[in-house]
């Protein structure tokens, strides 16, 4: 299995949509074959269309707010006493997280295809919130599927979705989290694909959704590349990019533009959700060696039992609480381009405490996982190493959990 240079990773799949011959694909009911093919044709055409790219860039700049900040965390760096710790503050983006990029592009595609309604899944509620914002912006009706457990623990985002006029449909099946929300959303699309467009909230699902999402979030690394050159004159000799990985949309977007650099110069570190320290359950299929299986239309490493039933996950962060992982990350793991590890709930909370103590930055529980590993590793790294952590979400949505786990001081 080999990563090719000079070709975007999203375009390195084969004819049937498999990366490295075995990750991804289109394991979908017959009914979805046609709408997926239509979307593929549309996306392949538009991603080469200058007008469409200009339109995307216009909305990214004026509406999403691009570029998001790239800042040095001076106090944290000094406290840790190793590598220079920087952050790409993607939570500056309109709505407070990276999910806005994919949501915007899906709404633009839906408009072009003449669909009036868009449906989407959400875990932490960011994908849903952003889709509701974009749908409102582009005049589309919006339906969001969300696990009942997630609705309870991510109330601020639920309120935001409703305020934007979206219908939030609670999903009571299975574990009542993201995995079930995605299933229910796909089922809704199966039944309504003639009139409704679907947005998959991460780099997961049938191949075309993986590609669209990766193409959209790559805005993050396009900005970062320019910002690094502005700051250092060139891409630093020792660069390490830390990002949390749930489905994998923010990390893929954070790394994409640096793919062709040697990993000795530019290393990618993906941090999965290890779950509570005392629990055997986790949401870290890459770190803990889960087997390949099929989930939501794509072959990927996924938590499952011997029979092939998908296993329940456990994580403090709803956005990482997913048993599978993007086929793109499976591909990056097996080609050894990226390295993957996990942080536990407790480690993420400790990192959140430390970051907020030293900096005016409030990473949500998802990027707190990445901060945890970045801080631990930075201690042992030289001062000329540039560590960048993608702070891809804001902690406002987590206030309930933070209050409960850390006390009101941290909200």
């Amino acid at each position: 299995m080999k990563l090719k240079k000079g070709i975007p990773v999203i375009d390195q799949g084969d004819k049937l949509g498999f990366w490295g011959g075995k990750f991804g694909g289109n394991f979908v009911p017959e009914t979805l074959k046609k709408p997926i093919e239509d979307l593929e044709i549309l996306f392949n055409k538009l991603k080469k269309d200058r007008n469409f790219i200009n339109e995307r860039d216009k909305y990214f700049k004026n509406w999403v707010g691009s570029p998001t900040r790239f800042i040095k965390l001076e106090n944290l760096t000094e406290h840790v006493g190793g590598a220079q710790i920087w952050s790409k503050v993607v939570s500056d983006a309109n709505g407070g997280a990276h999910k806005i990029y994919n949501a915007t592009v899906h709404c633009l595609l839906a408009k072009r295809s003449g669909k009036k309604v868009i449906c989407g899944d959400t875990g932490a509620g960011y994908a849903g919130k952003m889709l509701s914002m974009a749908a409102k912006k582009f005049g589309l009706k919006c339906k969001i599927f969300m696990g009942a457990k997630d609705i309870q623990r991510q109330q601020p985002n639920v309120r935001a979705m409703k305020k934007n006029g979206a219908e939030v449909i609670p999903v009571y099946s299975g574990s009542q989290t993201l995995v079930d929300a995605v299933s229910e959303c796909m089922r809704y699309w199966v039944a309504n694909c003639d009139k409704v467009a679907m947005c998959v909230g991460s780099t997961v699902g049938p191949a075309v959704f993986v590609r669209i999402c990766g193409w959209s979030t790559s805005q993050i690394s396009r900005e970062l590349k320019n910002q690094l050159i502005d700051e250092f004159g060139s891409i630093p000799k020792k660069l390490k990019l830390y990002n949390c990985v749930g489905g994998g949309s923010s990390s893929f977007g954070f790394w994409n533009e640096f793919m062709d650099y040697d990993k000795k110069q530019c290393e990618f570190i993906g941090v999965e959700a290890g779950g509570p320290e005392k629990s055997k359950k986790h949401a870290a299929p890459l770190t803990y060696g889960s087997k390949i299986g099929i989930l939501h239309g794509a072959a990927q490493y996924v938590n499952q039992n011997d029979d092939g039933q998908i296993e329940e996950t456990e994580s403090i962060s709803a956005g990482l609480d997913y048993p599978g992982i993007s086929p793109l990350h499976c591909f990056l793991k097996d080609t050894k381009r990226a390295r993957y590890t996990a942080a536990s709930d407790e480690e993420a909370l400790r990192a959140y405490k430390m970051v907020t103590k030293f900096e005016k930055l409030r990473p949500s529980l998802e990027p707190s996982h990445a901060f945890s590993v970045a801080i631990a590793e930075s201690k042992k790294l030289s001062k000329d190493t540039i560590v960048v952590v993608n702070s891809c979400g804001d902690a406002y949505k987590d206030r309930g959990i933070l209050k409960q786990r850390l006390g009101t001081k941290y909200v």
Partner: protein, 266 residues
């Protein structure tokens, strides 16, 4: 290849009626009871579809989901399903049995091992909901070598070119999804429209036995009786759920539903 599925269609045709196919989930509500249900409806039914329950089913509506979760909760494993088929075949060895499920279950079991077990236990056909054409070509030909029908699915969204390709690669039975829906949805198109799509398939190759499924209930079954076969699934799963709720015997209640369905297409 000889396959009792072909015989079942021939018999129904001779009796000038569509074949009746039922779908029940293996292990719903228990291993023992699902076998009892199969035995009790066997005489009324031409082909038995048995669902392999999966916990992330992307094409099933709430009724079949409920049955599947119930079966999984009660501990059903793939090996138990083969055992159910084997035990059933001891009771009625000529009744065709089709397993229907999602690809991950087969993938984890191993394609070859799964097919060997199908052969040993007496499975005559397979429907894999999320392994569409052309991705399924290799697996379908493996099935053929074991004289097991791989049953291709067609939907109202299937394009003409795909229709031709799929029908060409199909074995003797094809499953036509009546409408854009998950299983058990309310029939939202007219039976005329469904049949007109059905005839488009028959026109490409009249020799294939085409069954219609999704949204078929006691109310709707009669209007589609011109088809080669009709599948009822969710209505039966719903009956099991209701029987449990009312503390009645699912075996008798399911038999009664199937018996009424049979009478409607005489």
């Amino acid at each position: 290849m000889f396959n009792p599925i072909s015989y079942a269609f021939k018999k129904a045709k001779n009796e000038k009626r569509p074949a009746l196919l039922t779908y029940t989930v293996a292990g719903d509500s228990s291993k023992k009871q699902s076998l009892q249900i199969l035995k009790s409806i066997s005489k009324e039914v031409d082909i038995l579809e048995i669902g392999v329950p999966h916990n992330t089913p992307v094409a099933d509506g709430s009724q079949i989901q409920t049955s599947s979760y119930r079966a999984i909760k009660n501990g059903i494993k793939v090996n138990d399903i083969f055992k159910i088929v084997k035990d059933f075949k001891k009771f009625d060895k000529n009744k065709p049995v089709i397993l229907m499920g999602y690809y991950n279950m087969i993938f984890q079991y191993g394609e070859n091992k799964f097919l060997r077990k199908c052969e040993i236990s007496g499975v005559n056909g397979l429907i894999v909901v999320d392994l569409p054409w052309p991705e399924n070509k290799k697996f379908a030909s493996k099935c053929k070598k074991k004289s097991i029908f791989f049953i291709q699915l067609l939907s109202p969204t299937t394009t003409k070119n795909r229709l031709k390709g799929i029908i060409k690669d199909s074995h003797e039975m094809i499953y036509f999804i009546s409408m854009l829906s998950t299983t058990g949805g309310k029939l939202k198109v007219s039976s005329e429209e469904i049949l007109s799509n059905y005839y488009k398939i028959k026109k490409i190759n009249s020799k294939k036995n085409v069954v219609i499924g999704f949204g078929i209930t006691e109310k709707t079954i009669k209007s589609l009786k011109k088809a080669d076969g009709l599948v009822v699934g969710s209505a039966i799963c719903k009956e099991i759920t209701n029987s449990i709720k009312k503390r009645q015997n699912p075996v008798t209640n399911v038999y009664n539903v199937v018996n009424r369905l049979r009478n409607k297409i005489k």
